[in-house]
Symmetry: C2
DNA sequence: CTGAAAGCGCTTACAG
DNA sequence: CTGAAAGCGCTTACAG
């Protein structure tokens, strides 16, 4: 089923069919339309790509599609590709730079652009993409040398600061952090914000309370166990992403630790089940679907020759604390004056 | 950067470079290897596809990637494409047949095969795919005329039966169901299993307890609200998927209904947060990642000319009940003899 | 507006 | 094992 058959049936040349299909005005649109419909003709994407150099496909590389944050982000992206005649080639990097390298090299000749949440800030392959003229937009995570790329990020430092201020306000002083990998943007920046906020208020942090996880649930679980086994466990834990928060909560449940009675827990990123958990989680929330939408818009814009040389757009979204029930004043601590807590959302 | 430049640099013809790249033995492999590496050559996917008729890409169409079940399924699929030099073109149908039609028509000329969870059992476009020789594998959901396709499904009837037996065993007799759309396989079959199990035990169901949702969280929420407003509300609710279970639980929380004290809740599909919810959810669990793996293997097998005409494989996996804490004997009911409950998983 | 023709970058049957 | 050549199915500059 090729354009030639359609042309023959409609009594015109393939060139005319092609023109009709791309919306140019032709002499016998009805005949061509009819031929296309009757034959059920659909152009070959491979042939079109080969000719035009455009695939109308966007590569999306995320660490883990089963992380609800990235699932939401991808959904946001698709909501814009849908109306723009683009499609998404999806790959997981599993938080591995090596895997990411393979995927990006493979995508380079198959897509018009890539949206990437890099496994680490030091990944080199993304820079090569630029050399081969494949536009790249970062989401959630940045590159060390990322300033020259479009990006959609959030204010990680401020998020961690809000979490710390919240805990300090409740009277906590022994606060632990389960951070992400220091070579990722959210791992590094959230830890920076955490430490800075503590320092700013003159509160110290024990080295054994400053832990590094890998953003996976199991590391949240293990590191929480290790915190609980300390001679002097913290009275509050800040977890740097949703999956590690879940791991921490599981560990606290398994060890029969009352939350927030004995330990308060506050995590970065909300979950669909956040309000339903035991206890409902206090979290730092950020736009998710919206980030995907913005990143895809940035990329599609960059594909337009008119904007290809615009200076990079670096979008940094704000985050906000959702105060539910997993944080409370530390046990045996003087309870600070009551403050308004948001009611549980209806 | 084409194969001609590599050929020139290596002092051979493009044909020889092509042969080397596909693993055939050639006279000067080192020179070609060097030229490829120095030039950073990567073949044009479009040109290869046009020539070979193969895209080495698989289309995956799911109702909603933010549903943790489908996210896990997609992850399973990717774990097999990864080692087989295939990639995934992902699209959401948003539970809409119309949207699915668009997506499938678009994919037909871009992929070697499609894995689909159809929006309804009556969708027609999948049948057209077959006519255009694009292999199709169903996952989670089937088509009315689906017998001629490979499929990976679960025993929905048995799952619903297990849920009902469990509730009956606890002493419930006023059991409501929040079903999925009757034109989807899981919507229809889970309801059939539910009604059949009740009937088999001689327990009736009030029409107002037999509800139809749309698999979205909001419908679980709304329908639970409507159940609560009944003069005689049920003492137990069976929800036909994970998202509606969450919606139901939110409604029960918001209306301050004690679970399982006043109403027991059992849902189809487990959640990562299942054990952490308030209360921990009793659910019908099924393999998720594994279903994705199986579906992709089926499809890749079908792509092999050797198996293209094999009879369709219809894989039906078993499901099992995970007994946590959202179900209990109805209030004021005679408590049946104690039965072993599984301990909360560690 | 239209058609003949060239060419996008590969792969492969063919002849050597 | 190798190379010249044809051809996959489109799009588009060119001439009319």
């Amino acid at each position: 089923m090729t354009i030639h058959e359609v042309a023959a049936r409609a009594g015109v040349s393939p060139a005319t069919v092609s023109r009709f299909l791309r919306g140019q005005s032709v002499r016998s649109p009805e005949a061509i339309r009819a031929a296309v419909d009757e034959l059920g003709y659909w152009p070959s994407a491979a042939a079109q790509s080969l000719k035009s150099g455009r695939t109308h496909t966007i590569g999306v590389v995320v660490p883990d599609i089963t992380n609800p944050y990235f699932a939401a982000v991808v959904k946001g992206m698709e909501s814009v590709t849908r109306t723009e005649n683009y499609r998404i080639l999806l790959a997981n990097s599993d938080e591995s730079s090596e895997r990411e390298d393979h995927v990006l090299a493979d995508m380079a000749r198959r897509v018009d652009g890539v949206i990437l949440a890099p496994a680490t800030e030091r990944d080199q392959t993304p820079l090569k993409l630029r050399d081969s003229k494949v536009p790249l937009v970062f989401i959630d995570r940045d590159l060390m040398e990322g300033d020259e790329f479009d990006a959609v990020l959030v204010d990680n430092v401020d998020g961690a600061r809000q979490a710390v201020e919240h805990l300090l306000g409740l009277g906590h002083t022994r606060i632990a952090a389960i951070n992400g990998p220091p070579d990722t943007t959210p791992g590094r920046r959230r830890r920076e914000g955490f430490l800075a906020a503590l320092t700013a208020r003159g509160v110290g942090i024990a080295p054994e309370h400053d832990l590094i996880g890998d953003f996976r649930e199991s590391s949240g679980y293990q590191l929480t166990l290790s915190l609980l086994s300390l001679p002097e466990p913290p009275t509050a834990i800040f977890t740097a992403n949703n999956l590690m928060t879940l791991g921490a909560l599981k560990a606290l449940h398994d060890m029969r630790v009352d939350v927030p009675g004995r330990i308060s827990l506050i995590g970065f990123d909300d979950l669909d089940t956040g309000p339903l958990l035991r206890p409902p989680l206090t979290v730092i929330d950020r736009p998710m679907v919206e980030q995907g939408v913005l990143a895809m818009r940035l990329l599609l814009r960059r594909l337009d020759p008119q904007y290809v040389d615009d200076i990079p757009r670096r979008i940094v979204l704000g985050v906000k604390l959702i105060d539910r029930a997993s944080t409370a004043p530390p046990k045996g601590q003087h309870v600070p004056p009551p403050r308004a807590r948001k009611a549980r959302p209806a």
